[in-house]
């Protein structure tokens, strides 16, 4: 019995093993091809920064290691440009950070306290407020840009950081994430805190905030990237070039690619694009596990 079983099983596992190796090779091949597909456009853009504008306009994107890296990055960051000739890349970089961080902090602060009120207080009004807030999840800013612009314009908030950040904060995503998270915290915690005589403010600051640290970090990363990458709203609300963010300002510079009579500034535009890509990518890659956890758990 045992012998026959062995003689049947052994060749099978052998053939399966050989097939398995082939399959593994194919699997890795597919994954490497996918990774290359993701990397190549950005890598090509990065390599092209080393070339001169003349070469780029003649031969397109380049892979050779050119001599113009420093020059192009310097031009991108410190030379004034744009239509009025008043904007530098470093100003745009600063504005991008203000938008990304301001947006993330705004979302977290407003979202967290609103979610706290909704979850931890016995109040009819809280349910009503939850539905008011929840409804905003349905309509992205893009579908109501024109009226929002009119409203913000009427308030005199054009070309201000407030006008740039607050309308973007007006959605419920963070509130919703925190609500879900607070609901998953055991009920006993608030009971114990109340028995020990902790008031709502003390409970929030001493217990809830420390418990939410990972959640806050994850949401901060997601919101920072989201804010940094905003385009449509900053395009409408900032007409003054000193207020441009990188993502919004690149267009101004590369639009000259087709219009101008001089050789277009490819190197500068590509360097700016690279600078615009770098910070959010670094944040996502470095804090990968928090980011993935936050994204996957909060969106469900």
């Amino acid at each position: 019995m045992a012998l026959t079983a062995d003689t049947i099983v052994v060749p099978r596992t052998n053939s399966r093993r050989r097939k398995f190796k082939w399959q593994t090779l194919v699997d890795h091949g597919i994954l490497i091809a996918g990774s290359l597909l993701m990397i190549m456009p950005v890598f090509a853009a990065f390599m092209t920064i080393g070339a001169s504008d003349v070469d780029i306009s003649r031969h397109g994107m380049q892979f050779s290691n050119g001599a113009h890296w420093a020059e192009n990055f310097d031009k991108a960051l410190f030379t004034k440009g744009g239509f009025t000739g008043a904007i530098t890349g470093s100003t745009m970089l600063l504005n991008s950070f203000i938008l990304g961080i301001g947006f993330a902090i705004g979302k977290i602060v407003f979202g967290m306290i609103a979610a706290y009120a909704i979850v931890y207080f016995r109040l009819r009004f809280a349910t009503f407020a939850f539905w008011m807030i929840f409804t905003t999840l349905l309509l992205p800013l893009e579908v109501r840009i024109l009226p929002t612009y009119e409203v913000v314009h009427g308030m005199g908030l054009i070309n201000t950081y407030t006008g740039l950040i607050l309308p973007l904060v007006a959605s419920a995503t963070a509130t919703f994430f925190f609500r879900q998270f607070f609901l998953s915290i055991p009920e006993e915690l608030v009971e114990a805190a109340r028995i020990d005589g902790a008031g709502p403010v003390k409970f929030f600051i001493d217990i809830l905030v420390p418990l939410s640290r990972t959640m806050v970090a994850a949401i901060f990363i997601i919101m920072f990237v989201y804010g940094w990458n905003q385009y449509l709203w900053p395009t409408l609300i900032t007409t003054d070039e000193a207020m441009f963010t990188l993502v919004r300002g690149i267009k101004q510079i590369y639009q000259a690619i087709d219009g101008g009579s001089d050789i277009p500034e490819f190197g500068r535009s590509l360097a700016l694009a690279f600078i615009a890509i770098l910070p959010p990518v670094l944040v996502v890659v470095i804090f990968q596990s928090w980011f993935v956890k936050g994204l996957v758990e909060s969106d469900k």
Partner: protein, 293 residues
């Protein structure tokens, strides 16, 4: 709401107030404003407006241009959703399967999430640059002259490619984590029952992924409809002309370039209704059709 909640009135209201004020001012007011102005015809020079009923809507549905834009949006959304979901699914299944390197592949395949759509669009302009972009040259070698921004279908193809590239990572992250959350015991049981990898995938893995996939379907549709604005603006270099555009792009073009407040608002309202229908559909299907484990 927690059972053991606090019994205050002033404090929670104070906590809710900032959020309510912001959404009131920047959400409900503009939304109501859009609804109202969609029934009015605004004088282009700002001398008041006249009530025109549903004329703005009938004008839209009678306009061949708007129908063309709607048609393009539909096709574009379908293609981007289908392509990015299926490529991401393939990559996620393989990344979940390989024994070594899952983490490295995950990093390499997800970082593009952080590339802003308009920047992706700008990279697309360079890659498909007329005459000497790498892809243009590659296609020329195959005997096809690719003309970005000139030929309607070439531009549309570039938009689909760039949007798909930009959106594979989100799908990949969700699908991979969905795959990784399938219990090992289920996989082993399936392995004993069925040796065919394909059958195992369609019978076991795919149904277990269904909630994730459905959620992603909605995310993808929303992305293709709304978040591609910057990418399209970059690819057409801010000059829509005869180029393809999505419905959101047209709201912008009509409202800010054409100064047609009524028409643009009517388009906004149509998009709002579209999103509402999508959301209601999402909740209904989520509740009924999909069985969570």
């Amino acid at each position: 709401m927690k059972r053991a909640g606090f019994n205050h009135f002033g404090l929670p209201v104070m906590l809710l107030l900032p959020q309510l004020i912001i959404i009131g001012v920047f959400f409900y007011w503009p939304a109501a404003y859009a609804l109202r102005s969609s029934f009015f015809l605004e004088d282009p020079f700002g001398f008041g407006s006249t009530f025109v009923g549903v004329d703005n809507y009938t004008d839209l549905f009678g306009s061949a241009q708007y129908l063309k834009v709607a048609g393009f949006t539909l096709g574009f959304t379908f293609l981007v959703t289908f392509l990015s979901l299926s490529i991401a699914l393939l990559l996620a299944v393989k990344a979940d399967k390989v024994i070594r390197g899952t983490r490295v592949y995950r990093t390499l395949l997800m970082w593009v999430y952080a590339v802003a759509p308009p920047v992706a669009g700008f990279l697309g302009v360079m890659v498909f640059y007329q005459g000497n972009g790498p892809m243009t040259e590659f296609l020329a070698m195959l005997g096809y002259e690719f003309r970005l921004g000139v030929n309607y279908y070439d531009t549309a193809a570039a938009m689909v490619v760039v949007a798909t590239w930009n959106h594979i990572p989100v799908n990949f992250i969700f699908l991979l984590s969905g795959l990784q959350s399938i219990p090992q015991s289920v996989k082993e049981a399936a392995l004993i029952d069925n040796r065919s990898g394909m059958r195992r995938f369609w019978d076991i893995t795919f149904p277990l992924l269904a909630p994730t996939a459905f959620f992603l379907l909605i995310i993808n549709i929303t992305y293709a409809l709304f978040d591609t604005f910057g990418m399209i603006d970059a690819l057409v270099k801010g000059e829509p002309g005869n180029n393809p555009m999505t419905m959101v792009y047209k709201v912008y073009v009509d409202g800010f370039r054409g100064n047609d407040l009524g028409g643009s608002s009517a388009q906004s309202v149509i998009l709002m209704v579209l999103v509402l229908v999508l959301t209601v559909f999402q909740f209904r299907v989520m509740d009924r059709r999909i069985h969570y484990t």
